[in-house]
């Protein structure tokens, strides 16, 4: 039983690290724009397909693909925010609707370009670590390790750099930040781009495990939404803690009660949080 519990917790941590990456980006975008970007799952998918194209057509190394894909999506995110969301600044409802539309456009475009089928992401066989009957597939551990590196990198960017200070200022009070000489017309798209880069990283890291398809971002988008509600809208610490909690809960419930409850627990958590503590664990009231 101990072995099973440990295995379950490790499964949950790995799943949670994927949610953390996705939710951290979503939270960052929310802190800047004040709306939930419903195209985030589609951007994850686009990032995954970027990597897929680089690895299959150009034969690039996986980690190089990851870096390039993140870079491409940061730039694309910058452009999307500038052209699509920025003109609607202040109109949260329209921004939300636009993000839904963007998600549909991106998904359908991916179906037209790459077809609807799941695609296998080429990856090296890394083997499995076995520690006292607990199995740790190395390709899964990679997600956990990469998520830690990326979140630490995000923390350093946000907390220890001038640009991070500017992002925090804009997130806290746009007018005051502008008065201080911070150019929100650059900071906002840049933050959006970082969010998209994190989505691309999440998509690329899970592609060897979950396959690549135009619909791969749909369910994760919903889970990321649950995470940011649980953690607190706009809180990156909340996204980290929330992601880990959700991953662990899903793993525990699915292992001991059945996989049919894996998604149900996410929505139960959402309901409980909205009823009891709507600001989330680390959000502001």
């Amino acid at each position: 039983m101990t072995t099973i519990v440990i295995q379950t917790l490790i499964n949950g941590l790995i799943l949670g690290s994927f949610y953390v990456l996705l939710a951290a980006g979503l939270s960052l975008i929310f802190s800047i724009m004040g709306v939930v970007n419903f195209a985030h799952g589609a951007l994850l998918m686009l990032g995954a397909f970027c990597s897929y194209v680089f690895i299959t057509k150009l034969g690039l190394n996986f980690f190089l693909c990851l870096l390039i894909s993140v870079g491409v999506m940061v730039i694309l995110g910058f452009i999307i925010q500038k052209i699509i969301f920025n003109p609607l600044k202040g109109n949260e409802l329209n921004m939300m609707v636009i993000s839904l539309g963007l998600a549909i456009v991106l998904e359908n475009s991916a179906v037209i370009i790459w077809g609807p089928d799941d695609r296998v992401f080429p990856f090296f066989e890394l083997g499995v670590l076995k520690i006292s009957n607990v199995f740790l597939p190395i390709d899964r551990l990679l997600i956990l390790l990469s998520a830690i590196v990326l979140i630490v990198g995000l923390y350093i960017l946000i907390q220890k750099t001038k640009i991070g200070l500017a992002i925090r200022a804009v997130a806290q009070d746009l007018d005051a930040a502008t008065l201080q000489g911070i150019n929100s017309n650059t900071i906002s798209p840049f933050s959006f781009g970082i969010g998209c880069g994190l989505a691309a990283a999440a998509g690329t890291l899970v592609s060897p495990l979950f396959l690549v398809s135009p619909y791969m971002g749909t369910l994760p988008m919903v889970k990321a939404f649950v995470v940011i509600v649980l953690g607190g809208l706009g809180s990156i610490i909340g996204a980290v803690i929330g992601g880990i909690i959700l991953g662990l809960m899903e793993s525990l419930v699915a292992t001991f009660f059945g996989a049919v409850f894996q998604n149900a627990i996410s929505f139960l958590i959402l309901i409980i949080v909205l009823v009891l503590k709507p600001e989330g664990l680390f959000g502001e009231k």
Binding site: T8, P116, P137, Y215
Partner: protein, 387 residues
């Protein structure tokens, strides 16, 4: 004024001569409802491709000849997304907007059940492959199931598996949590019970799930001898098999649906896929199948991904054969001709015949050949003809 009168008469005469002398084929619209996107698309696209190939053969030879008229066939396809909502929408569009009298598909049970009441009421002939046992009944005379389902096929496969692995005592089923999945598990349960084996567990998961590590961990706890997938898409099965093997499982994997074995090997790797058993509806070495495979590859530039492609090619050909034999476009007449004259018709998957009255109360279930198949060294090997 006189000039204009002459011009009008000349134009009118020209129109009469040229429309009178050209024999224009009429158009016969045939509906296709199938899952064209998402994980089930490997099967759903098979329905569309099968119908397309058979339709093009008919149109290339001039069209269907019925009662002195010639009909070019136009396929109208809608994506049901493997859901009831999608099926209902597709069915209503086809019947009420596009005015079709015949529908090929769907594969999704939820989809069929969502529109079936309407098609039965409107007497629309539906050639489906939905696995739910509710698809066929005496109250639904206009629905034919063109291929064997788990009810007909699974007992044959389970009998064979338990003969090959007589020491297998613990079996677990894994299926999607929907009508198709539950129907598949019910049949597996009954087939194992016949051999005195109670299923150790019946596991279900939501379609769209990609991280199967909790489910695999849960099943591994039970240490089953056989892990039987029921109506799950190949990509889902492959992701699970990969994880099971990574966790050291030595279980025998069986699949009651047709497997895209190439995709299985691509996802899991040759070693993990070794020994994966499924029931195949055709023998790839058969000369008719070989010829069909070549035409298929030439047209679509891929290998045949599952049995659904040749199955619905055969079904559509049988349907067009029946229309010309019956010399009628009346759905009831065409239905009866398919049912009673299909033994005369042989295509890529061999002969077919209709039965099923003892199970469904109506002889609207088609039967065809069935083989025990296994993955060996990354390739499909037919082990035994079970039917």
């Amino acid at each position: 004024m006189r000039f204009y009168k002459v011009a009008i008469i000349a134009i009118a005469l020209t129109l009469v001569i040229f429309t009178g002398t050209n024999v224009k084929a009429e158009t016969l619209k045939i509906g296709v409802i199938s899952v064209l996107s998402g994980p089930g698309a490997v099967w759903g696209l098979g329905i569309l491709r099968g119908a397309e190939m058979a339709t093009d053969e008919v149109n290339d030879r001039g069209g269907l000849k019925v009662n002195g008229k010639t009909y070019k066939i136009e396929l109208i396809a809608y994506d049901d997304k493997y859901t009831g909502k999608g099926g209902k929408s597709a069915g209503e569009k086809l019947v009420y907007r596009d005015k079709v009298k015949f529908i090929i598909g769907p594969i999704s049970s939820a989809s069929l059940l969502a529109f079936q009441e309407m098609t039965e009421k409107e007497k629309i002939l539906v050639l489906s492959d939905s696995y739910t046992e509710k698809a066929l009944s005496p109250q639904k005379p206009f629905t034919l199931r063109m291929f064997m389902t788990a009810v007909e096929a699974t007992p044959l496969l389970v009998d064979w598996v338990l003969k090959e692995y007589p020491n297998a005592k613990k079996a677990v089923t894994i299926a999607p949590n929907d009508a198709s999945g539950h129907a598949g598990v019910k049949v597996q349960e009954s087939a194992y019970k016949k051999h005195g084996i109670e299923l150790t567990s019946k596991e279900f998961y939501e379609r769209g799930t990609k991280d199967f590590s909790p489910l695999v961990t849960r099943v591994q706890m039970l240490n089953p001898d056989v892990i039987a997938f029921a109506n799950a898409p190949t990509s889902d099965c492959a992701l699970m098999v990969k994880l099971f093997r990574q966790m050291g499982s030595q279980a025998v994997f069986t699949d009651n649906t047709s497997t895209d074995f190439r995709k299985m090997v691509e996802i899991t790797g040759k070693k993990a896929a070794e020994g994966y058993i499924w029931g195949a509806f055709f023998d790839p070495a058969d000369p008719k199948m070989k010829s069909y495979s070549e035409s298929f590859k030439k047209r679509y530039n891929i290998e045949i991904p599952s049995y659904v492609d040749p199955a619905f090619y055969q079904a559509a050909k049988a349907f067009y054969y029946a229309i010309e034999k019956a010399q009628s476009l009346d759905p009831a007449t065409v239905r009866d001709t398919i049912k009673y004259r299909i033994p005369e018709f042989e295509s890529v998957m061999g002969k077919m015949l209709f039965g099923g009255k003892e199970t469904y109360g109506i002889d609207n279930q088609a039967y065809s050949a069935y083989y025990a198949s296994v993955i060996k060294d990354g390739k499909q090997v037919i082990l035994k003809k079970l039917r």
